[in-house]
């Protein structure tokens, strides 16, 4: 469903992705690991359509379409979802109002009618409980005053509501305590199905104990330098990135 070929991208004239190749098929879960500054977040943002990143080479095909040619909102409507590493706070815009507009846009895109108000509320209440947040969060502003962990759980809640066919998780595990990590993992596992795919970008192997990937890739210097099964993550955990001759360079994180 997702085919990335020789992807090159830069931010503020600094080249970050230098020829990245990745193929994701329906039903698969891929983990992309790598040291800080390797381009993990850049990949996530480029796939979501962040215009701060300039794509200067390569192609991304999503379900047979040119993803890079699509607007941000059309990517979302076609089923791409990015769980942000740093979700923004939007006071004044309630979670409910925003989610309902989002769902209706996606439904309209699929040629479906607007969601019934009662059905929407029922789903929203069920999903917010699924990520272990109080239902009062629904009426609050988007991420307004949420803790870091609550924001991440809210991302997962949105993902469960929007039911994307491709979920990209950008370091959703970082900064989470073990309980929150379980909640996030349960959410992602609940979404796993033969007609969806998940790409998890992470710095730590810990998440992969809870969401077992089909494939693990090591991203370094803007390219995927090694791919393997879930055992690759364990090897990385044990030996560190140094094993692959890589420095964990925090300063160049993009």
């Amino acid at each position: 469903m997702l085919d990335i070929k020789d992807l090159q991208a830069s931010v503020e004239e600094k080249q970050i992705l230098k020829g990245l190749n990745l193929e994701v098929k329906l039903g698969e879960v891929h983990a992309i690991m790598g040291p800080n500054g390797s381009g993990k977040s850049t990949l996530s943002q480029v796939l979501a359509g962040n215009q701060a990143y300039e794509v200067n080479g390569g192609t991304v095909t999503f379900n047979g379409q040119d993803l890079l040619d699509m607007s941000i909102e059309d990517r979302a409507r076609e089923g791409v979802f990015l769980a942000f590493q740093y979700p923004v706070e939007i006071p004044g815009v309630s979670n409910l109002q925003f989610l309902r507009t989002a769902i209706n846009n996606i439904r309209q895109h699929r040629g479906e009618g607007e969601i019934n108000a009662a059905e929407f509320m029922k789903q929203a209440k069920a999903k917010i409980q699924q990520v272990n947040l109080d239902p009062s969060f629904l009426k609050r502003g988007v991420n307004e005053g949420f803790s870091g962990g609550e924001k991440k759980r809210n991302e997962i809640m949105q993902m469960l509501m929007l039911e994307p066919s491709l979920a990209i998780l950008d370091e959703t595990d970082s900064g989470l305590d073990i309980d929150a990590l379980r909640v996030v993992a349960d959410g992602v596992n609940a979404l796993r199905s033969p007609d969806r795919a998940v790409v998890m970008v992470t710095h730590y192997q810990r998440l992969l104990d809870y969401i077992v990937p089909d494939y693990v890739h090591v991203l370094a210097g803007g390219k995927i330098i090694k791919s393997g099964g879930k055992e690759l993550a364990l090897e990385l955990e044990e030996k560190g990135y140094g094993w692959l001759g890589l420095e964990d360079n925090a300063e160049s994180e993009a």
Binding site: A48, G49, N50, Q51, S71, I72, E73, R75, A76, R77, F81, L82, F84, P87, V88, I90, P91, G92, V93, Q97, F98, L99, T101, A102, I103, N105, I106, H109, G141, V142, Q158, L162
Partner: protein, 417 residues
């Protein structure tokens, strides 16, 4: 230079002989003061941006008729105030334990002393005009320890051209609580001008929640002064919905005269087309250990113009003051204008006082985030614009009114094609 005293509406004014003698004296003094004041021009500092909007005051007369209004909040006390005055008989029919409602004409001279005393603080052209010309006024008194649960709604009604000068005095005795809503129902016609004056004396440990709303207009002009005097541990909370009209000006003056008082001022301002709104607020910290918090959010679209002048004045004895003022503004069009001027004047040395004012467009990170969830660019911008002001509307303590304000703002800020 036209002296205010030479305006036809001032010269034609007939003193209401039914007013208590002390009030008559107050009014005569104010009329004399008008001969020392001139119709503001753009060279008048506190009218710099708004003087040209005042219109031709020489055409004003004070003979407007009244209109009836409809209830907009349930379980509330409604009082109509118009050029025809105040219906004292209707006031006497309102029965609420701890609440006394009177017209000025029903007051004894002794009852007037606080009104006379507080008139010392008056200033500004529109306020002087009100004091010189009001025909009658309303007194709202809340007895010690009384908590008036139902909001008291003042309908300032005016259905044709002319000047109306509603006048209100509110007094909360020790530990009393009340909510007062000023609703301006002004016909949107040329030459309609409403200039109100409200003074609230908030006693020890008492709390006044004050709300104010006016309709959107293109022709009528509205001015008003609200002054709150806070005693020890008193609390004043205000929520103001400012919708633009040909000229709109509100002066909010809070005086924290004794220790431990707190005020919270929230304002939402939205103007479109050629509308205008000018807010001048001043918080005076006179005593120590008082706190103030002010948040005004403004959105100007089309060719409209918003002015925000917010001043915090900390007197030399006002140690341990906490003052915070925040004014954020959004310009939705290249030809809209917002002039913001936060002013701090601090004469005490142990205070924490902060102010911030921003004028800007929407945060592109927020627009991006919403679009990644499938919202169109227009939907995202509309939602964020509305959210910018709804954050303050959600703090309005009367849920049904907050919903109405949200509805009004949603309609107002829904994007054009």
């Amino acid at each position: 230079m036209t002296q205010l005293s030479s305006l036809a509406v001032v010269e034609a004014h007939q003193l209401n002989s039914a007013l208590p003698s002390q009030i008559q004296t107050l009014q005569k003094n104010a009329q004399e003061k008008l001969s020392t004041l001139v119709v503001p021009t753009r060279k008048t500092e506190h009218w710099k941006y708004s003087a040209k909007r005042l219109g031709d005051l020489s055409l004003l007369s004070n003979n407007s008729e009244t209109v009836s209004t409809t209830a907009f909040v349930e379980n509330a006390i409604y009082i109509d105030i118009s050029a025809a005055g105040i219906d004292a008989a209707a006031l006497s029919e309102i029965e609420e334990s701890g609440l006394t409602l009177q017209a000025f004409t029903q007051l004894s001279d002794e009852d007037c002393s606080a009104i006379i005393e507080l008139a010392e603080y008056e200033r500004g052209e529109l306020e002087q005009i009100n004091t010189a010309l009001f025909n009658d006024g309303l007194v709202i008194r809340i007895a010690k320890n009384a908590v008036i649960e139902c909001p008291i709604i003042l309908n300032f009604v005016q259905d044709e051209a002319g000047l109306t000068t509603p006048r209100v005095y509110i007094e909360l005795e020790q530990s009393a609580q009340a909510t007062v809503i000023e609703n301006y129902a002004i016909a949107d016609v040329d030459g309609a001008f409403c200039s109100s004056q409200t003074t609230a004396l908030i006693g020890d440990n008492a709390k006044l929640t004050y709300l104010r709303q006016n309709p959107l207009g293109s022709a009528f002009r509205i001015g008003g002064t609200t002054r709150a005097i806070l005693k020890r541990d008193a609390n004043f909370e205000s929520h103001i919905l400012c919708l633009g009209s040909a000229m709109a000006r509100h002066d909010l003056h809070v005086l924290m005269t004794e220790k431990g008082s707190h005020c919270e001022l929230n304002g939402v301002v939205v103007t479109k087309e050629k509308q205008h709104y000018d807010n001048h607020t001043e918080i005076e910290h006179i005593a120590s250990n008082c706190t103030s918090e002010e948040n005004y959010r403004c959105i100007a679209d089309d060719n409209s113009h918003i002015v925000f002048n917010g001043r915090i004045y900390i007197h030399k004895d006002a140690q341990k003051t906490l003052g915070e003022m925040n004014n954020r503004n959004l310009l939705l069009s290249n030809s809209a204008e917002i002039d913001t001027k936060p002013e701090l004047e601090i004469y005490a040395d142990d205070v924490k006082c902060a102010h911030g004012a921003t004028i800007g467009q929407l945060d592109e990170k927020e627009v991006y985030y919403l679009k990644t969830r499938g919202l169109s660019d227009e939907q995202a911008r509309q939602m964020l614009t509305l959210g910018f002001v709804l954050e303050l509307v959600r703090a309005v303590p009367i849920a049904s009114l907050a919903e109405q304000w949200e509805q009004t703002l949603s309609e107002l800020l829904s994007f054009k094609d």
